[in-house]
Point group: C2
Chain length 446, copies 2
């Protein structure tokens, strides 16, 4: 029996959900509500257009609006959902009134945490999110001389690199001692920070934001380390689950603030599913909830949520979080935990490190690849990894996340075979070297 | 108690073995005998110097001769071992006489199979192996107008690409219907062959070599498809294990012609080990013996053989053979079997294919990545993979070989998390898409 399914949110999770609904049963009716003018574009590409690596915002669109019509997905653009009634199974849509659902998918995404300092209403404060606003801001960037990026989050790293690449005098402010300190270890981020300095970026770590200063327009950013003159501030603060609507309706949230879901992406309420940045998923190693993963995660979760909402049965598995991003002149990445996070979580671990290379030592374009592997001390099962390099970081991160998931050990990785072909891979794979070094240091009592 | 250990062969396996001997116990005495003027260089780099991707042969040397002296490894250059006496534990060295060993490592590598046609003694026939000869041949290449590469083996692919890149009018002759047909499937090699044609290479498949023609110098190459005028022929024929010496001494060989070794790399004779291209190793899926793997395999096997010869205990595991190489304008690679080999072996399998991309669809430099996964039909455990693309083929091949080894299924790969970051990886990892397509085609009865 087909269902009437509503999806709140038109990002990767919402669009994935709409597709999942139709995949489960093409007769299902699905309507997507989004506050924005568009769906089906890649917000992840925005920093690269600002940085001039990509020449046009148009390229970020994945599909024309017509494509969704063709697929039988009804999208209501620039539409606000003001409430969810779980009991009567309706949502209230501004201007449309009450709309009934058999099944509901909440895909309301994230919001940037409020920096909580005076001056937050000044012109010149840019929250990167919507592509139409990004197009407008891109014109502003042509006039900007000095910019402050507030907090070295993943987006902060991308925007710092993009603004510097564009030739803007760029400052990065973060209260922690190094960039992306919640996730990345200092030995992994160090080459990135060095490369930012080569690019002329001013780094302000251990520095807390205190104010945005100016009359109508931003003129400077106040920090505990002094005032930074700037005509632009990019607010890449922590992403928090956007659950206002869902929490008000009574859906249960977890310790991260994200909506609690089970392996079917079902929330605490019958017939209501959630996916993407608004949901909390268990980490595979600790089973502790995490939020704020990638667009790829959001899309995959959406597909599962939509498929189940549509009458199918699919499971989403705990996450091992492969990640990676260009930053400065490097690419960083990893899987699961680094040392910093493992230590914070109180997980015991042993470490294997190596300074490997990406191609044969003599092949043009060869670059260093630093690999660090964390394993639990008993069976030496991998619990996490971090890397800094250039080529193949993304593919290694995917592999290492899978290696953590399937319980591979340092011994397994030390005995791993690898491709050797001068132009594409070195005699010794850096992951193998790191695993061997880890075993050697254990054997040596080190 | 330290041992006196002799190593016959100075390639990757022999040098790995010498290092392994010292790693097991630095007091061990180790002598390496090589017929060549050098050890510790990368023969795998030779095609790339010929192709002008690498600017000098000097770059291919990993270490100065002095480094081996420092490491306590005694290398006898340009030295011929004429016999092995297993009973008296001596080898006969031309000009040195009998030399006693406690333990022996045979690392005599491969030889190219004889093409078995008239004219094999003409000038202008080049067997790529020794770096000194390669330096001489590189000068000859400046004068060559037209070259024939005999057989589309891995080296044949590299040399075809290199000669074409260098601007030489290049022909590739092979008796099989497509290049590398023993290993690679036609849908994987097709883009490579297309790119060779774009580069001006003349492809002669289903074509058998019949003669080398000329008086003193090569003037043409005779084939079943006609005569090809040429002043150079590169003989990249099948690599066969070089076991003349070892077989004469009575060491047991297997069906491939390679020396039979156990997991400690010990041969059929007490205190004699073998490693590298002269040894036969079991394939992890079939347990059938294979030879002719990569320099990385040879080096790793050498280390195990040497470590065990030196009094230690290490095991070498069955191989799952990740492989990869640039070819034409592409990079091809894989792990374990493709369809052609699986079919030839009589293994039942199901297939998942995908045409993925290497970066976000809109990111400059994005390239297609074709992935094909083979799984056994019952549990859907991966048994092999092949790919053609550009970025990340080597890292994916390493991963997929490990996935085969650890019994991952199409379901596991379909549910795999992946890095999504526009400049380094697409929303959907091509491996995941291939696995999902494989499952979908099964579900659809396709």
């Amino acid at each position: 029996m087909p269902h009437r399914i509503l999806v709140i949110g038109g990002g990767a999770a919402g669009i994935g959900a709409a597709g999942g609904v139709k995949a489960a049963d093409p007769r299902n009716e699905v309507t997507v509500y989004t506050e924005f003018e568009d769906v089906g574009y890649s917000p992840c590409g925005i920093p690269y257009v600002h940085g001039k690596e990509i020449d046009s915002f148009e390229r970020l669109f994945l599909a024309q609006k017509e494509a969704y019509v063709q697929a039988g997905i009804d999208v209501h653009y620039e539409t606000w959902v003001s409430s969810i009634d779980l009991h009567r199974k309706v949502i209230d849509v501004v201007g449309e009134g009450e709309v009934h659902w058999d099944r509901l998918v909440v895909a309301t995404g994230f919001e940037y945490s409020d920096p909580g300092v005076p001056g937050g209403r000044l012109d010149g404060l840019y929250y990167v999110k919507n592509i139409r606003r990004a197009m407008e801001w891109d014109k502003v960037l042509d006039t900007v001389r000095s910019a402050v990026v507030v907090h070295a989050t993943p987006l902060g790293l991308e925007m710092t690199t993009a603004l510097a690449h564009r030739g803007i005098d760029t400052h990065l402010v973060d209260p922690q001692p190094w960039a992306l300190a919640d996730v990345v270890d200092p030995d992994i981020i160090a080459p990135v920070q060095d490369s930012w300095q080569e690019m002329g970026v001013h780094l302000h770590f251990n520095t807390t934001l205190t104010s945005f200063n100016g009359t109508q327009r931003l003129q400077s950013v106040g920090t505990t380390a002094g005032e930074i003159p700037a005509d632009l501030a990019v607010l890449s603060t922590h992403k928090q689950p956007n659950v206002t609507l869902a929490a008000r309706a009574g859906l249960r949230t977890g310790p991260t603030g994200g909506l609690v879901v089970n392996e079917r992406m079902a929330t605490s309420a019958p017939d209501v599913y959630a996916a993407g940045d608004c949901a909390e998923l268990p980490h595979g190693v600790t089973r502790v909830g995490v939020t704020g993963l990638t667009g790829s995660h959001a899309y995959a979760q959406g597909k599962v949520a939509g498929f189940n909402a549509g009458g199918g049965t699919k499971r989403y598995q705990p996450v091992y979080v492969p990640w990676g991003t260009p930053a400065g002149k490097w690419v960083i990445g990893g899987a699961s935990f680094g040392e910093t996070l493992a230590t914070a979580l109180g997980l015991p671990f042993v470490v294997g490190r190596a300074e490997g290379i990406s191609r044969a030592r003599y092949y043009p374009g060869v670059r260093p690849v630093r690999v660090k592997l964390l394993a639990e001390p008993d069976q030496l099962r991998l619990i996490g990894a971090q890397m800094v390099g250039q080529e193949g970081i993304k593919e290694r991160a995917d592999f290492l996340a899978t290696a953590v998931k399937f319980g591979l050990t340092l011994r397994d990785l030390a005995a791993m075979e690898n491709v050797y072909s001068p132009a594409i891979g070195a005699l010794n794979e850096p992951i193998v070297l790191a695993a061997q070094n880890g075993l050697d240091s254990l054997a040596g009592g080190g």
